[in-house]
Amino acid sequence: MSALATTKASATRARRTLGWLLLAPAVVLLGAVVAYPVGRLLYASLHQLNLVDPAATRFVGLANYAELFADPNFWHATGVTLRLALVTIPGAMLLGLVLALAADSDSRWRWAVRLALLLPWALPPGFCGMMFAWFFNSDYGVVNDLLVRLGQTPRPFLVAPGPAFFAVSLASIWKASSFVALILLAGLQTIPAELVEVARLEGATRWQRFRHVTLPLLWPSILVALIFRSIAALQAFDIPYSMTQGGPGRSNETLAILTNTLVTEFLDIGYGSALATLLLGLSLVLSVPYLRGLYRSHD
């Protein structure tokens, strides 16, 4: 008996060892590219660390965080980020859903929609921002050209806070909707056609089929898209930066743009790291309800 027990224990140990060995590459990789940078970020956020004055570097505890909460620029950037998220998340989700349904339809133009879906997704965000900045340029932009053709006066969209926010939101929605659509399209393709067909045979209208069959089954995909979109929206940088650099002035400065300015321009690594840590925390906190919903829907 004891020999059998020893053999069993040894086999368990061997399995555990093998498990750890198999996990090791992933653990090492995640440690190198996630744990170490995040650790450094937290460490820097607790220090006064400005490269312009390296001699003054010292541990300051939570002072950087306290200064942030008293900084009007931080609250302004938080407001802009949330406003942008509130506009672009529903916008991209809605447009993405419409595009996904079009790409999943039986139409003979389905291939064209699928092809068009890939274009915004494949474009680098900075390039997308520059492209939209050209669209809205006062002198050469296609938007003002259309306005002139309609008998309107051209408007300098990107130098007024409201129109600039509108232009940035539009570009962000356009760019993000294709990613949302690709996720939703994948979800739509997993829904058995028989279910929709049965509903149709039982007299359900197109809307009823969508509302009561497609949407509930698509819900896990919607949640996944929502998580990705929400995190990306909170970290909005490329498009607003390449279109307006957060301007005019600082009127459309997001938290990510402010972090970039603090770190790469002002070289205030400690203060910028505190802001980046808050941004990371905010993204994690907002992910929790979505993840809960996702697991619940799987159950």
Binding site: V52, P156, V159, G247, P248, G249
Partner: protein
């Protein structure tokens, strides 16, 4: 029985030792003479003419066997280059040896410990060498009593004007902003050309917008920082600076999209014949006069920047400096290279082939230069008395605040009073 071959090393090791040692010595000596050192220089964007720099470096390589120099180009604007270099140097990356940096960057980069002090490499020649440059460059390239950069090119803001149009309407070159407004209006009204505009300045949130704010401010005899680097902003002078530009916008002398205008936009519009006046850097002269497609060749005048009523003429200096990365693995070789790049012969070549202005006062009376750039005789005193933007390790904050605020005021999203308050609030904390 096989007899051993006479050259078998195994059998006759002693006979071969000498020739082998000789060969080894030769190989090592050869290695020492031909060991290639590759230096990598950051040369900025296309406006800094990396193409011309390549030719200059080719000559350097030919004169210095064993040294190879690679060019890395970067972002188009000064502030983007500064951001890029900050990222590279913050990582202590040794891949760049020499850095071409804007006139406003040496203090910040040196404070961060990214620049190699040059004093020890110059020895006894140091003082004489640096004294040959104009005083403003002596000031910007020193940090805590150490030389950290060598001037490469000088630049200054000028008023460009259309000689043909001023002659046609028999109008003199304006010396005040009000005269400029009236001259521009008279010409634009008279030309009946929907494309023609009065004046273009840089209003986009770029370095040019910093100068846009400072020019009328300085013209009122005010300083932005004191000798200790503390903010000395004169609120009413700053308000008048913004008011001047807002007035020119309201009178349509400046186009409505001024808050979007970058340096290149002004150059393109002037070269296309769509402007009466333009505020731009000295290098633009070559574009107006020589670039393919220019419509204003032979019709361009250069003048001092107008002053505010009762004020003085001022200009803002620009230009690029060479410095050595503190993380370079080839510092002596890099110092030798940048010394060559800052030499009078390279300076003359830059003037001849690219129209870049020299940093040594002696050049402005040198017939060799005047033959290439005849307008230097008149422009020289303006350039040599030009001002640098505020010299402070916290220049990034100064620049970010001034350019964004100026752009927002020009765009109308910020009232001049709000703009001045914003500048005070943001900079008082860091410049104290």
């Amino acid at each position: 029985m096989n007899s051993p071959t006479p050259l078998s090393p195994r059998r006759h090791p002693r006979r071969l030792r000498r020739p082998l040692l000789g060969l080894l010595s030769l190989a090592l000596a050869g290695q020492a003479f031909t060991a290639d050192i590759t230096l990598r220089v950051f040369a900025g964007g296309t406006a800094q003419r990396p193409d011309l720099l390549r030719h200059i470096l080719d000559d350097y390589e030919a004169a210095h066997p064993g040294i190879r120099v690679e060019i890395q180009t970067g972002a188009a604007t000064s502030e983007l280059q500064r951001k890029y270099l900050s990222t590279v140097l913050n990582a202590s990356d040794p891949s760049l040896d020499a850095l071409q940096i804007d006139i406003v960057s040496p203090a910040q980069f040196a404070a961060a410990g990214w620049l190699e002090p040059l004093d020890s490499y110059f020895g006894a020649e140091r003082d004489a060498y640096f004294a040959s440059f104009s005083p403003v460059y002596q000031k910007v390239n020193r940090y805590r009593d150490q030389w950290v950069a060598i001037p490469f090119t000088t630049d200054a803001l000028f008023l460009y004007y259309r000689t043909d149009l001023l002659a046609k309407y028999n109008l003199p070159v304006p010396t005040t902003w009000e005269e400029l407004a009236q001259t521009a209006k008279a010409i634009v009204d008279g030309e009946h050309n929907a494309q023609l505009r009065g004046l273009s300045i840089q209003g986009a949130p770029i370095e040019g917008a910093v100068c846009t704010f400072l020019l009328p401010y300085w013209s009122q005899g005010r300083e932005f920082l004191d000798a200790n680097g503390r903010l000395t902003l004169d609120r009413s002078a700053a308000l008048r600076s913004f008011a001047l530009w807002r007035d020119l916008l309201a009178r349509n002398i400046l186009p409505a999209n001024t808050a979007e205008t970058k340096t290149g936009d002004t150059i393109n519009d002037f070269a296309a014949g769509q402007l009466v006046f333009a505020l731009n850097w000295g290098f633009a002269w070559t574009v107006f006069d020589q670039a393919p497609g220019t419509k204003v060749k032979g019709q361009v005048g250069v003048a001092r920047i107008p002053r505010v009523a009762g004020g003085e003429h001022v200009t803002s200096l620009g230009g690029w400096q060479w410095s050595v990365s503190a993380f370079s693995r080839h510092k002596p070789e890099t110092v030798a290279l940048i010394r060559y790049l800052g030499s009078p012969e390279v300076e003359l070549r830059l003037a001849r082939e690219a129209g870049f202005l020299p940093s040594r006062p002696a050049a402005y009376t040198d017939p060799a230069y005047l033959a290439q750039l005849p307008w230097l005789a008149e422009a020289g005193p303006v350039i040599l008395s030009g001002r640098s933007r505020p010299i402070t390790p916290r220049y990034a904050e100064v620049s970010e605040t001034l350019r964004n605020t100026t752009s927002a005021v020009l765009g109308g999203s910020l009232a001049p009073e709000e703009g001045v308050t914003q500048i005070e609030d943001r900079l008082r904390r860091v410049l104290r």
